[in-house]
């Protein structure tokens, strides 16, 4: 293991890897030496008010990882589907021989006052953001325990894993749930030398935020706000006075948490939030 290849010889599975943060994690962990299993639904979800990734996006992630010189195994699978995840993991382990790192990153957001939310819209967010992580853990952890190599799991929560807001209660509930899941799993998996931590980003410059619906929530006064139009409002959220962080800032935190540099760090929720939670 060399200093700039802390994940050399390891295999990392990432959900929601077709674009956004998941893609950045795939590339960053590959640069650090890991082979990558990239999973994404690569299809829309009806109740989500912006497009999810496409199959082209997933192919682009594959290309970017290959360009770094690492092996990549990309699979279309929905984290709501346990059988699909189980099959993807079995195939990936058959191909790469091991699994060391899991980044449960897939997630969606949708908006509305709680008492007005259609049942299905509520359920989709819970199913993807929370139960999807449960499925990801069920699909990966038994093989990691059996291999006896230890490992590291990072669950993507959010600053909304600690704070509330209006109009996103399903999202806030799931991201709080992810923090609880992190602490429970850290206790359960400690004896197996599998560490479990979460990352808790504030706004990240991805489709989830930079789509017309979300931008509109930040600037209800404008017809069709652009990212530039929300910068001031978003900067005011953060002591460091920046509107958003870049995907790679979250990737760097994940690289630290999954490398041996953090070998005794478990149960931690690491904010990448320009100070939002310090307020």
């Amino acid at each position: 293991m060399s200093a700039d290849q802390p994940l050399e010889g390891r295999v990392a599975l990432i959900t929601g890897a077709a674009r956004g943060q998941g893609r950045a994690h795939a590339v960053r962990l590959a640069e650090a030496g890991a082979d990558i299993v990239a999973i994404d639904i690569a299809a829309p979800v009806e109740s989500v008010p912006y497009d999810l990734a496409s199959t082209d996006d997933l192919a682009e992630t594959e290309k970017l990882v290959a360009a770094v010189g690492r092996r990549v195994h990309a699979v279309r699978a929905d984290v709501r589907d346990q059988d699909a995840l189980d099959a993807a993991v079995t195939a990936a382990i058959a191909e790469f021989g091991r699994l060391d790192v899991v980044v449960a990153n897939a997630g969606v957001i949708s908006y509305g006052y709680t008492w007005e939310l259609p049942e299905q819209q509520w359920q989709d967010v819970i199913d993807i953001n929370l139960t999807g992580i449960f499925h990801t853990v069920k699909a990966t952890v038994p093989a990691m325990i059996a291999a006896g190599n230890g490992g590291a799991i990072v669950l993507t929560s959010s600053v909304l894993g600690f704070r509330g807001t209006t109009g996103a209660s399903s999202y806030v509930a799931t991201k709080h749930g992810v923090v609880g899941l992190t602490k429970s799993l850290a206790n359960e998996l400690g004896p197996h030398r599998i560490r479990v931590n979460s990352v808790n980003p504030s706004n990240v410059a991805t489709e989830m935020v930079l789509n017309p619906t979300t931008l509109g929530l930040f600037r209800p006064d404008l017809e069709a706000p652009t990212p530039d139009d929300v910068k001031e409002t978003m900067s005011a959220m953060h002591p460091m006075q920046i509107p958003w962080v870049e995907p790679v800032d979250v990737s760097n935190a994940i690289l630290f948490l999954t490398s041996d540099d953090a070998r005794y760090i478990t149960g931690v929720s690491l904010p990448v939030d320009a100070g939002l939670l310090a307020r």
């Binding site: 206790n187 002591p239 990448v272 100070g275």
Partner: protein, 269 residues
């Protein structure tokens, strides 16, 4: 390959030995010049010895052996003037200041009714006011530099109410309060403020806590509070500096106000 903190200057308190020295050496290996202080003075109230002047000299020699510059001096974190004297000399010589590691500390183990006035005030003065002094003396240099990263060494005792350590627990919790406030106040200057919270580390400090075994033997139900969820009893110096390094370098450029545990899951039980 350039180092992760190449060209930066780091100010470290309690740098003569233990974690402080380990931080100085790793930061130097990753390209930083060092300003190191230590009081190198024993406390009547603390049953183990503090570092010796020769220890501080050894830290200097080891940093220089890594081809980095170091300005070191005797300074007690309880005294802002002493800190300022060494720090100002260091910044004048090395050009600027980017990283502050407020690490100096002391620790004694005793039941609450055996905490002497002296133990209480020495612990609060060194571990809490000492961190405050370190940061307020350093902050103007960081502001002048256009930004920086401050890391204060708290402990599992900064999160949990460890028994037999009441003054230490109070001071280490207090550090979190300082860090949270200053993370807000200093953010507009691009200064990040975070704390690290190690579980037991094998240093002269933990070796000096022999009284703990007897105290737990008298109250065995309190023993499990000290057990980590991960199957390790202690963490190594390397584990603490790895966390400090992440917070010190630009990989964490938007991380501030964080309490980063290096505790084998001790605080989530």
């Amino acid at each position: 390959m350039t180092g992760r903190v190449e060209g930066k200057v780091a100010f470290i308190t309690g740098a003569a030995r233990g974690q402080g020295r380990s931080h100085a050496l790793r930061l130097a290996e990753e390209g930083a010049d060092i300003i190191a202080v230590d009081a190198v003075t024993d406390y009547a109230s603390v049953p183990y010895s503090m570092a010796r002047p020769a220890d501080l000299d050894e830290t200097c020699a080891l940093v220089r052996a890594r081809n980095r510059r170091i300005v070191a001096g005797k300074a007690d974190v309880r005294d802002q003037e002493q800190l300022r004297a060494v720090l100002d000399t260091g910044v004048a010589e090395l050009g600027h200041l980017d990283i502050v590691v407020a690490n100096a500390g002391i620790c004694t183990a005793q039941a609450w009714d055996d905490v002497s006035t002296e133990v209480w005030s020495d612990t609060i003065d060194t571990n809490l006011t000492g961190v405050w002094n370190t940061i307020v003396v350093a902050a103007p240099h960081l502001i002048a530099n256009g930004g920086g990263s401050v890391i204060a060494t708290s402990s599992v005792a900064g999160i949990k109410g460890l028994p037999f350590f009441a003054p230490y627990v109070a001071a280490k919790h207090g550090i979190v309060g300082i860090a949270r406030s200053l993370a807000n106040e200093l953010a507009s200057h691009h200064i990040r403020v975070n704390t690290v919270h190690p579980a037991g580390v094998d240093t002269a400090m933990s070796a000096g806590l022999g009284a703990l075994g007897d105290l737990i033997a008298c109250e065995p139900n309190l023993g499990p509070i000290f057990i980590n969820t991960y199957p390790v009893e202690m963490v190594d110096l390397l584990d603490v500096i790895n966390a400090v390094m992440f917070l010190a370098c630009d990989e964490s450029r938007y991380v501030t106000g964080l309490e980063l545990t290096i505790d084998g899951g001790n605080t989530i039980r």
